[in-house]
């Protein structure tokens, strides 16, 4: 009898295992690129952030309305002089290697971001002077000066906390096998082929996780990515081609989500990066730049170049953003005024070269801009240049105008400071104005939203008149997925949050 009992138990156990394996659910996500190194300190690509959203939790996160919400932080408090941020760390959180996440681990990660050779987070955390462990679950971040974008920085890779034990053991090879505190733990990566993550059983918020495994498959060609979704080999794809939207919309088996990006698409103008700026009427004369902007019909550009899948804009943030400067609205196309300005500047047929990367979107934008500007009298020559080369030319100031996109940051500071402040790394325009620097620095030093809004309005009145960048539009992040998937959260940073995501 005991033997029979044993056999019966064995059969039941096998059946349970079978049921469990049948229920094991995998979410397969098609990415537009192969992510770079999976170390939050060293990582640099947008697509890598999509993987991190499942792998590494952050001190804070952003929600659908760009509000900062605590994640690994339980609560936080600013000091009265805004030079210290005290964070209470969430209790009961462990890393994927079982180590406890506490204040010491937070201090370790932040210091790693600040000091590791080649860290891409150092600039983001520049004002962070030191980190104190107040008690086992509380840290204090001491700043050299008030820095209002800090919370937004901690809601991205700079706020990701890694296991000190694993990071110390792996050194600069940590990215090959990252150990964080996210809902899924790293299992396998085959370069250019797949990244596999398994559910972490002791995740602090495990009630929101409904998949056992997430597989990321980089498929650069958007047609092939879509074919994989339609043939059922993928459950979700990011960056659906705008031209595929109508076709997929009519198919009930799939859903589409559109999110207006926090970044922008614009044309950077060389106004002072090199001697070329003075040799060209566009870089030399603000009236010519104004004429150029007035020659553009942004709505037309969006319709023709983006199949309508973008929101027109004229600033570093989209018009629906709380920091959008309402005092500088989107200018309407005005060819008569544009021609008049060119006459006044003495260059009725101003000529310049528009450098553009070889991506399909950038090429189309350049062609539409060329056609529109011609109607005002401009002679625009398009110079298609491979991306890495174009970047090099832009950095050396060897360009007149450059079609360039920015993926965007949650705080407006991340979309403007490095582009418009003097001698900043992304200031390809070579724009430098002490008044602008002053406004930018003041906007960093206050946490008062109304005050910041006012400062950005003043900034817009100057910078959008000088036009080192002519902002065109804000693209839609287009997600396509099987209609069986529910619980998607459309957060403007374009990253896929797995929390709450499930099959119906």
């Amino acid at each position: 009898m005991p033997k029979r009992m044993h056999q019966a138990m064995l059969i039941v156990a096998c059946l349970l295992a079978l049921i469990a394996s049948a229920n094991a659910q995998t979410l397969r996500i098609g990415l537009a690129e192969d992510p770079d190194v999976l170390d939050p300190t060293l990582a640099r690509s947008f697509v890598g952030r999509i993987v991190f959203a499942s792998l590494c939790d952050k001190l804070f996160d952003i929600d659908e309305k760009l509000a900062i919400v605590p994640q690994l932080a339980e609560s936080y408090q600013w000091s009265s002089d805004s030079k210290a941020l005290t964070i209470k760390v969430r209790a009961g959180v462990t890393f994927h290697d079982g180590e406890k996440l506490d204040a010491a681990a937070v201090k370790y990660s932040l210091e790693r971001h600040k000091t590791m050779a080649g860290s891409n987070r150092r600039g983001e955390l520049a004002p962070l002077a030191s980190v104190d462990v107040v008690d086992p679950m509380t840290v204090r971040l001491n700043l050299s000066a008030p820095f209002s974008p800090l919370l937004a920085q901690l809601a991205d890779r700079a706020g990701m906390i890694v296991s000190p034990k694993a990071a110390q053991a792996a050194g600069d090879k940590f990215g090959a096998r990252p150990v964080c505190a996210g809902p899924f733990q790293f299992t396998e990566r085959v370069a250019q082929d797949r990244i596999v993550l398994e559910r972490y059983a002791n995740y602090w918020n495990k009630g929101t996780i409904h998949f056992d495994r997430v597989v990321f498959l980089p498929i650069p060609d958007s047609t092939v990515r879509l074919a994989n979704l339609r043939s059922g080999q993928l459950d979700f794809i990011e960056r659906l081609a705008a031209s595929d939207v109508p076709q997929l919309k009519s198919d009930a088996r799939f859903g589409i989500t559109k999110i207006t990006e926090i970044g922008y698409q614009g044309i950077t103008i060389n106004v002072g990066k090199s001697d070329l700026a003075q040799k060209n009427p566009l870089g030399r004369d603000p009236r010519v730049r104004e004429a150029f902007e007035l020659a553009l019909d942004r709505e037309g550009i969006v319709q023709v170049a983006m199949d309508g899948e973008a929101d027109v804009g004229n600033q570093w943030v989209a018009p629906n953003n709380t920091f959008y400067a309402k005092n500088v609205p989107i200018p309407a196309r005005n060819l008569a005024r544009a021609k008049q300005l060119l006459q006044e500047a003495g260059v009725p047929n101003a000529s310049f070269t528009l450098m553009t990367p070889t991506t399909a979107d950038a090429q189309r934008i350049a062609q539409v801009v060329q056609a529109m500007a011609r109607e005002a009298g401009f002679d625009v020559k398009i110079q298609s240049t491979e991306f890495a080369t174009s970047l090099d030319l832009a950095d050396k100031g060897q360009f007149d105008a450059y079609v360039l996109a920015w993926s965007g940051r949650a705080d407006p500071d991340g979309n403007i400071y490095s582009f418009d402040a003097c001698k900043q790394p992304l200031n390809y325009a070579g724009y430098c104005k002490p008044g602008v620097d002053d406004l930018l620095n003041r906007s960093r030093s206050t946490r008062d939203v109304d005050e910041r809004r006012q400062l950005f309005s003043e900034l817009a009145a100057i910078a959008l008149k000088d036009r080192p960048i002519v902002y065109l539009f804000h693209r839609h992040w287009l997600w396509a997925y099987t209609s069986k998937l529910e619980g998607l959260r459309a957060v403007p940073d374009g990253l896929v949050r797995v929390n709450g995501l499930r099959f119906k």
Partner: protein, 314 residues
């Protein structure tokens, strides 16, 4: 023979050295700063400076070359800065994938090209001949990426028979491996099949009009034997040479097909590396390919010398 061998092997060293200088030098001519590309969107000056130091970009050209050569001599091809993996390991992982793809493609090409060429030559001027020529023309003029996407739409999206893209190792699941390889291999094989068909046809037409074929027929040999045993055997010699050449081209020319079907092979590795200015990977892959060609050349030279002793003396 041994003197010949020593001479040939000794000649490889300066050849490889010259090739390595060429690879390294040409790479430096690529426009764009690799440190800037690898620094990502933020382009933090401190990160760029660190990357320049890591890649020895702050050193003059000869010093950089010697750093690299020292590694190569010690069997270290460097590390991919983007993927943080040794270049040697990347090559070892990607090469078998492309080799498998090339092997299946060439088998498909031979299986289609030779019979089609034979039928076309034997039934010259008939509907079979015209049909085969139309197929050949189609194969030659169809762009790989277009055919690839059409096949994906038909067999993956509409019929749901095959995976749209990706790769599964044969050691993991050989059925899935075959399913993932068949479409890209067909796309690659299709174009080669057309070339093979045209060459087989002309070679067969030439052989079929030769005296010994007429003699074989006069002897009363069956037409099937005349075609397959007498004519095809002789016609195959230039076809095999052509097939071998095409195979070599496949190894380096599968880039587009690998891109469309997202096959993580050799072609995709080098293309991504060039666009990301991942110098170590580009140098490693090109050096590996060049060495492989030089070695194959050596084997061919030795084979000639074995077959023809006069070559050894020369």
């Amino acid at each position: 023979m041994s003197t010949f061998l020593i001479r040939r092997v000794a000649a490889i060293v300066p050849t490889l050295l010259f090739v390595s200088i060429l690879i390294f030098g040409l790479q430096q001519l690529l426009p764009g700063d690799p440190a800037m590309v690898l620094a990502g969107e933020e382009r933090d000056p401190a990160v760029i400076a660190h990357l320049r130091e890591t890649m020895h970009l702050d050193q003059p050209f000869p010093v950089r070359y010697l750093y690299w050569l020292r590694g190569v001599v010690h069997g270290d091809l460097g590390e991919s800065l983007r993927m943080q993996q040794p270049v040697g390991a990347l090559i070892a992982a990607k090469l078998p994938v492309t080799l498998e793809l090339a092997c299946i493609a060439i088998v498909i090409a031979l299986a289609i090209g030779i019979p089609a060429g034979v039928v076309s030559a034997v039934r010259r001027g008939t509907a079979w001949d015209y049909g085969a020529n139309v197929v050949a023309l189609w194969g030659l003029s169809t762009p790989n990426f277009w055919l690839g996407i059409m096949l994906i739409l038909l067999f993956s999206v509409t019929l749901g028979w095959l995976p749209a893209s990706g790769y599964v190792s044969p050691f993991e699941n050989w059925r899935a491996n075959l399913a993932s390889m068949i479409m890209p291999a067909f796309v690659l094989g299709n174009a080669i099949a057309a070339v093979l068909m045209r060459h087989t046809r002309s070679a067969m037409l030439q052989v079929l009009s030769s005296d010994y074929v007429r003699t074989a027929r006069a002897k009363g040999a069956r037409e099937r034997d005349v075609v397959l045993k007498h004519a095809l055997r002789n016609a195959l010699i230039p076809i095999i040479t052509l097939g071998a050449l095409e195979f070599g081209t496949l190894l380096s020319g599968a880039v587009l097909t690998e891109q469309v079907f997202t096959i993580p092979g050799f072609g995709k590795l080098i293309v991504d590396a060039v666009f990301n200015r991942d110098y170590a990977v580009v140098q490693g892959v090109v050096l590996f390919t060049a060495t492989a060609y030089i070695m194959l050349n050596l084997v061919a030279d030795i084979a000639y010398a074995v077959v023809n002793p006069r070559i050894r003396v020369q």
